[in-house]
């Protein structure tokens, strides 16, 4: 069973102006799939659909089905959805909103009503994974851009999602942070988690099992 599957999905913000149509994508368990395409072609919108932000927070006209481990995304509650799929966006400044690193990581597990003990464990684990344990009580404002992105990734990992969506998450990372995130992706794959990345750089193709290209409202698989 695929971890993530989009069947004949179409989307338009307004009636009659389709951003993309009849898109088919699959991401298997333990697999990393990259989506490439020019700016404004709808990659981020597709990511929003795959995590349920569309139509929950952003309205538009949707056709087709999105399945997470065979279950229609529309039938999943928010609590179950965020445990199945996590998303990391491009700009960390828009993803961090608490004063300290610990607060930021704790936010997701708190929303899931986990116990204090479990939240503590998840904070430790997430910070170890992104190698930011020493920054636990540091104010997020004082961190560098790359460090902020690692914290944002840690905050997503604290929810322990089985599918990870990275929307141009590498775009402004330094080489150290890039290598670290790549290592995390490899580790996630080994754990059987699925990774869907929006990425235009050729440097990260080594992570991918398959690559999709998006252009003019269409998506197709390209040979590696």
């Amino acid at each position: 069973m695929n971890a993530l599957e989009g069947r004949q999905i179409s989307f338009s913000y307004r009636k009659g102006t389709s951003l993309f149509s009849q898109v088919d994508i699959q991401v298997g368990q333990g697999e990393c799939v990259i989506l490439r395409g020019p700016s404004g072609c709808g990659k981020t919108t597709l990511c929003h659909m795959l995590v349920g932000i569309i139509p929950r927070s952003i309205s538009g006209e949707i056709k087709g089905d999105i399945l997470l481990f065979g279950q229609d995304i529309r039938t999943l509650s928010l609590a179950r959805l965020v445990q199945k799929v996590g998303v990391l966006f491009q700009n960390p400044d828009e993803q961090l909103f608490f004063p300290t690193v610990e607060d930021e990581i704790a936010f997701g597990p708190e929303n899931l009503c986990l116990s204090r003990k479990e939240i503590g464990l998840r904070i430790e684990e997430a910070l170890e994974t992104v190698q930011m344990s020493a920054f636990r009580l540091v104010e997020t404002e004082t961190l560098s851009y790359g460090q902020k992105q690692l914290i944002a990734l840690g905050a997503v990992l604290a929810l322990q999602p089985a599918i990870l969506i990275l929307d141009e998450a590498f775009s402004q990372l330094d080489s150290f942070s890039t290598q670290l995130v790549k290592g995390i992706i490899q580790a996630q794959k080994k754990m059987g988690h699925a990774i869907f990345m929006v990425e235009n750089s050729e440097d990260h193709l080594d992570l991918a099992e398959r690559v999709y290209e998006m252009h003019d409202g269409r998506v197709w698989e390209v040979a590696l």
């Binding site: 952003i58 509650s77 828009e94 997701g108 009503c113 904070i123």
Partner: protein, 242 residues
Amino acid sequence: MKKADPRVKLFWVLLCTTGVLVFSRPFWVLGIALFTLAGTLSFGVDLQSLLQRLRRFLPLLVVISLLHLLFVQTGEALVFIRGYQVITSGGIIRGVITLVRFFVILCSAAVMGNENIRRVLAALTKLRIPYLFSFMLMIALRFIPSFQSSFSDAIIALQLRGVDLNKLSFRRKIRMYGDLLLPVVADAVVKSRQLAIVMEARGFGAFDKRTSYLEVRMTAWDWIVTGALFTLGAAAFGYYFF
């Protein structure tokens, strides 16, 4: 007092702001101002940063107080121009009271702004205030500096394009600020939308309740301070009204 429970600080803020808004006798209002200042410093607000904050609002406060001074025509007439009374004792008192009221509000804001927002959220949760309301408050507070920085960025961008603000007339300056307001507000709307998306992607609103990793507990000292504040507040309000 610096590490007092946020609930103690909230109670103190409630007491000071209610008192300064309800009391209208000048000496009582000044007494509350002194009490607020003492509390503000005891709760760990740095005097210098407090003065800086006050200085930023000073022009606005002076204008508001002047308006009261000129338009409140009660009490004894003190200054006449061409036979018309311009300044009265009532106007002066009202102007000073307005100034003090803003001072108390700014001091309260400084105390709460100095507190870790997560501790405030945890305290509000303990007070059984719905977490959606608490978060709305937090996000609103977070947007004030963000809005300020967007506005100053926009002004810097204009200056980099050759606009010399010092050479602009007052009228053109006002017009320029008006023109800048729309893009800055639009930017704030975009940011708030993105923030809502990120929060939801991390499960915000998944359940009616949420747990808190950070715990706040009232210490014996917190209870003593709360008790003292309650007694003082009850005595002051009782004496003033009865």
